[in-house]
């Protein structure tokens, strides 16, 4: 009998693990999920509400893919994990045994104990069910006169964009002094503040939620703001103050948890044959400058790619390369490669360039002394992942990076390039006399 691998969670991390295990072996694979029958792209939830796509378009694989690859799918909610008996219990009372268990449980929206946080009309945006709920709570501007979004992060801005696409007035409460300023340097964050307001979103900075007020039917009627005690009438409240691992049902198991499921570098938990990956995994030891819980798509995928090797007899540590990420803020795309912190690290400094149109800017974090390149945030321009990954590996100086910026440009053909502006700003800033190099296919395609 082939080993039975059970994966709880059909998100990117669980599915990637399953796909790679199947490539490497004939093991029996079952993916369990309470959310949907098939894997879909969580990152695309917003586009369903906005009418860019339907749910079916967010499924990265056609439905026959799973049986063709002998990956069994089980819809059900796991209530208990018994690691001694190596068995799972489902909410409908049924059981399933495993030889190896992969926890790919994802996250849930944070709720910080606000009064009224469980009223009708108050919701987060994480799951397919949340999306369906939003469709019910805020179908159009007629039945939802105003929505208030609490928490200025990536999901918050997405939710604001979604609601605005149906002309619903949105008030956006952000605790920080500027949007996503805990991650982004001031210049970028300020540009985004202006961009958000230009989309007619009522952005309130330095503003905390005090409580959510109910009408007589247990529906939200208004929110109260802490600083001013102002009451804002609204029909929907979006709670988007971050996410945390979705691990409550593991409380009574023997699996050791902190904020997430604790894992070592092999992605193993304290229990043999039980692993955790994706949003729900918490690293015991730090990996570079990374956070111990990384709730992004890419890291979930990378953990899945790694874990499949381990499970198939080639133990591998999770060893992510250079950090990268991306997002989109209304009309402005964002990419980042390497590390740029909101305040430069000790011994580092920032170089910031912003275009006069106020919709493009970059920030480079570099070593103050030798100007070694540490990372870049890019808004409104697309850049090549591979090039920056290589430059980071090669420990290039920022001088080199700026001179060769044309190699990195990834905007569509005929787009105006801004490398010249950036270079001259850089020369002004550092008193250098760098010259822009022509784009070279040869450099782009040489692998280091």
């Amino acid at each position: 009998m082939e080993e039975h691998i059970v994966i709880i969670g059909n998100g990117i991390s669980g599915v990637t693990t399953a796909r790679h295990i199947r490539k490497l072996s004939d093991k029996k694979i079952t993916i369990v999920s309470a959310e949907t029958d098939h894997f879909f792209s969580r990152t695309a939830l917003m586009y369903i509400y906005m009418g860019h796509m339907k749910y079916e378009h967010t499924k990265p694989y056609e439905d026959y893919f799973w049986s063709k690859n002998r990956i069994e799918l089980k819809r059900g909610y796991v209530t208990t994990v018994n690691t001694d008996a190596q068995s799972l219990q489902f909410s409908d009372g049924s059981h399933m045994t495993y030889d190896k268990l992969v926890l790919a449980l994802g996250s849930k929206p944070n709720k910080f104990g606000w009064p009224g946080q469980d009223l009708k009309g108050v919701q987060g945006l994480y799951s397919k069910q949340d999306l369906d709920m939003l469709e019910e709570n805020a179908p159009d501007a007629k039945s939802c006169k105003r929505a208030v979004i609490v928490g200025g992060g990536l999901i918050g801005i997405e939710m604001a964009e979604m609601l605005r696409s149906r002309d619903i007035p949105v008030t956006f409460l952000v605790r920080e002094k500027s949007f996503w300023n805990s991650v982004l340097p001031d210049g970028e964050s300020a540009m985004l503040n202006r961009h958000i307001k230009s989309h007619h979103i009522d952005l309130r900075l330095n503003t905390n939620l005090d409580e959510i007020l109910s009408d007589k039917n247990g529906r939200v009627r208004a929110v109260k703001i802490k600083e001013t005690s102002e009451e804002l009438a609204c029909d929907v409240v979006g709670l988007t103050a971050g996410v945390s691992p979705n691990i409550d049902f593991l409380k009574d198991s023997k699996i050791e948890c902190g904020r997430g499921v604790k894992v070592n570098r092999q992605l193993e938990t304290n229990i043999p044959n039980v692993y955790a990956i994706g949003d729900c995994a918490q690293q015991r030891e730090a990996i570079g400058l990374r956070r111990s819980i990384e709730a992004v798509w890419y890291t979930g995928r990378m953990m899945g790619e790694t874990l499949a090797q381990t499970i198939c007899g080639r133990p591998m540590p999770y060893n992510p390369g250079h950090w990268f990420n991306s997002a989109k803020f209304l009309d402005i795309e964002y990419q980042t490669y390497g590390w740029v912190f909101s305040k430069p690290l000790e011994g580092h400094t920032h170089f910031h360039w912003i275009h006069q149109d106020d919709d493009k800017c970059i920030t480079i974090e570099l070593n103050e002394k030798d100007r070694t390149f540490k990372g870049i945030n890019i808004f409104g321009i697309r850049m090549r992942h591979e090039i920056f990954d290589r430059w980071l590996t090669e420990n290039r100086s920022t001088d080199y990076v700026v001179e060769h910026l044309r190699d990195a440009n990834f905007d569509p053909e005929f787009f105006k390039g801004f490398e010249k502006d950036i270079l001259s700003a850089y020369n002004d800033h550092f008193g250098t006399q760098l010259q822009l190099k022509k784009k070279s296919w040869k450099r782009i395609f040489t692998t280091s």
């Binding site: 906005m50 796509m53 990265p60 992510p320 992942h385 591979e386 990954d389 569509p412 053909e413």
Partner: protein
Amino acid sequence: MKAIKYTGLVLFLIGLSIFTATLFLGSFTLSKADITEFTNSRNIKSELLQSKLESAVVGQQINSVFTFSSLTRAALESANQEHKNREEWDKVVWDKPHTFSFYLAKKAGSGYVKENSGLLWWLTFGLAIIGALLFILPNVILLGAPGIKNDGIYHKASTNRGWIAWGVLIYLVGFYLLLYFMPDYVVNWTFILDPISQALNGGPASQWFVYGFLYCTVMVVMGVRMYIKYRHNKYQVLRTTSVLFFQIIFAFLIPEIMYSLNMPGYDFKNAFPLDYDFFFEWNLDTLTSSGAIGLFILVWGIVLTLIIVPVMVYFFGKRWYCSWVCGCGGLAETLGDPYRQHSDKSMRAWKIERWLIHSVLVFSLVMTVVTLYCYFSGAEAFLGIKSQWIKDTYSFLIGAWFAGVIGTGFYPIFGNRVWCRFGCPLAAYLGMVQRFKSRFRITTNGGQCISCGNCSTYCEQGIDVRAYAQKGENIIRSSCVGCGICSAVCPRGVLKLENGPEKGRINPTQVLLGNDVDLMDYVNKSNPQ
């Protein structure tokens, strides 16, 4: 702004209704002399037909083209039948009945439409154009700042296969059926455009002139919509300008002007085998009897297909033709843009696509070989295939039904590139070059894909772009027409159309960038599938 938009919509619908209503207007009368003149000018030897026509229509005023058509067609068919029974083959008139009736109707028509063609142009084309522009232009403001504007596409009856989409489908299919198979029914449309046709080529408008003029008009108006929708994207703006230029100048004006100069009208960008009748006897005869220009066209046509097309595909991909130059592509990218999301992305559709499009290519080549053999040898058939039969069959099945009725008529339900994806033999040929010998690819940006599916959804050619992007693989597909919309709609900047060195164009990837370098090397090198 919304008020302007809706006023525009109403004007457009009024224009369209009048345009449609004109089909039912007009009266048709022929005198004996008219018929004699007609039969003489068309070299018709059948007195029987002449007398049958006379007794059918002379001396009466027929107040609908439909009645006129059925009377003249009946006359033609019964005359033909008698001649066939008597084996008087030279007296049989081989014109298609509706075409025959069209020629007569063109002569016989009179009435309000014909006499007021200027006014009617304004009431139909004029109103519809102004209305459509009023509907489209406010989007500059209504759509907000430049950027991707796909909000609500799947909420609207027009773009989500709702009743409006089906209505448009029925109208378009009806239009093509009339155009291809019952041209006499649309003779009133030709009257509206007679003055413009006279000015351009010195003759009255045919149904094909109506089609050409309408085609250009629709492309320009919907091109304006493209400019507004994609104004942040220079690739789209230039591409739209390019297809408009080639349609208006190359496909429409140059051939018309050539006619007026007594040359064969030729669309210099229309390459064989899309231009499937290039090697038909009548065309070869026309070209060889048209002196230097005819010869030039003949050589150009061959060079275009054999050299220019593949060389350009090598450097730029098939997009240089399919989404920068081609008329079918041009209509798909303007009129068809609102429907691009309806192409089927399934593996099954891809399979059907490959079978179908390559069959059409083979069909067109076999037809051409048979035709050419018969042309030079004087035989009637080759390899047991009758030249006339295969040409008629191709023209009917592929030329009219596939490219027209289905290819364009079904836009609102099956997407805007049905013909280009499943049927066009030129696309099949370009695709083979693009797949195996080209510098073009859509580069995937390392590990940045979030599998959202926007790219696949908006791919008009039904390519599952995401399937490649989420594996970090470049997209190298014979069907890709390089419209650039996947790159435009991707929210993470993952896709870039580019022409680069052939080396490294295809990059099978198992483990994506961002991960442990050792793991990537190990996995990607040890099973490179």
